[in-house]
Symmetry: C2
Subunit: 305 residues, 2 copies
Amino acid sequence: MKKVSAYSPATVANIVCGFDILGLCLNEPCDELMLEITDEPGVHIINKDDFDLPVDAEKNVSGAALLALMEEAKDVKGFILTSKKNIMPGSGIGSSAASAAGVVVAANHLLNNRFTKEDLVRFAMNGEKVACGVKHADNIAPCIYGGVTLIRSVFPLDIVCIDAPELHVTVVHPQIEVRTSDARQILKQQVLLKDAIKQWGNIAGLVAGFIKHDYDLIGRSLEDVIIEPVRSILIPGFHEIKTSSKEAGALGGGISGSGPSIFMLSKDAQTAKHIETAMKNIYDKMGIAYHTHVTTINKHGVKIV
Amino acid sequence: MKKVSAYSPATVANIVCGFDILGLCLNEPCDELMLEITDEPGVHIINKDDFDLPVDAEKNVSGAALLALMEEAKDVKGFILTSKKNIMPGSGIGSSAASAAGVVVAANHLLNNRFTKEDLVRFAMNGEKVACGVKHADNIAPCIYGGVTLIRSVFPLDIVCIDAPELHVTVVHPQIEVRTSDARQILKQQVLLKDAIKQWGNIAGLVAGFIKHDYDLIGRSLEDVIIEPVRSILIPGFHEIKTSSKEAGALGGGISGSGPSIFMLSKDAQTAKHIETAMKNIYDKMGIAYHTHVTTINKHGVKIV
């Protein structure tokens, strides 16, 4: 096979209390891409959307990921990538990860799956480096593995799949820009030990809640005393959205990745829709433009078509 | 019934990376106690050991826990407690927790189990306050519930039982004194965010490893970048013990509670014995007196005889 199409899904990094170590994969939205092996050296990028992303492979998230893969594949001269992004760059739901993860999964399919998923995460992290300057895997890993993933360690890479119960996810993306690099810069480099203890109690609770399928424990553990108080300042209406979503039945939720998207988890589709309505009401009143997504956890990650 | 006997077990708080939030219960050693309801007001304490612990109820760990219980029980005038401690105070394997938890479980038995386990943890924490000035539950909770427990939050109390696979535990107690209050004071009140992230990755990994019965993941996650580097300074031979134990097959381990005891986890009884030998060799060479315990995880906590 020389050509393959794939859907690469959005992801929610951090999951409130798991800054830099947890992420989950969504069924929607997904980027669409087509990848073809070619004898022409290098990565050739054709963008079929309006985001005006760079076509120079080294400056392009997908390009950087493919170049890393090619360095290890050795026998591949070049790829032609046709990309149609449906996940808005800068939305906070893993747009760059979808670009990077989608292409390496597609490339691996064309190469008869010679690489492990862990290899693919390594390659794709080069895309994140282009996007925000840091090789992080909390969007990449769930995008490739599906479900909820724990990145216990990045160097060396240690990814653990966390079994989770059925969960519905409501996402609202206010149309404001928060750059991942800016969202990182405003974080304090030191935290109080007592806050760190609270945070790791919640992370332990969240992981246990997922694996034990204990919705109440998941809800109680969705609390972030370290990152959210700082980053939420960048997102208008954050606290109103959170309060209204919980009133509408959300188990909990918070900033998706570095924002500005806000996500909420719930037990059923109807509650997820109620939460969407609550979110819309807030931003309608505030006069802020937005997109919403009502979806579920994607258990499989990037999908080859 | 007016009189009951109980065994109250030792516990390991923190479990390396879970400072203040995780603990596990041991089958050995255990304190022995007898508790009797009496019409004579107050808590009357008879010590059947050589530790010279206070008999004034308010200054005694068991006494303080019983007084807290009596305040809610209302219809109990007094208790007579006969206590024989086999867990050395100051050893770092939950000696004060065994005193506090043992008596409230025994008292509850005499009162037809009118209180929940969570109530009992609340009462027993008053004993910890007497012992070290802080109401912490990371020894109390595993002592009462058995197994591995997560204390997601102390105020409000939120205890989660973590299912764990069969594990063998080797403990060495060097005969030096480390006061819990001193061990708390030397900790820095601020930690680097990057260290906190590493720590919560490990905690998430450890909890997932326990519940998934994944020994390798448990081993990889038994790493503490925040507390151990500071507290291990107080324990002679700590790094030698840790290195030799791992060479002898330990999954991992570290300081038990605030020390000076060191514990190591392993998969089978034979390895646990090998680890004991390795530990003994180190302290024999260093000329440090010690006790060792080779035991397993106690799944039931305080035992009424």
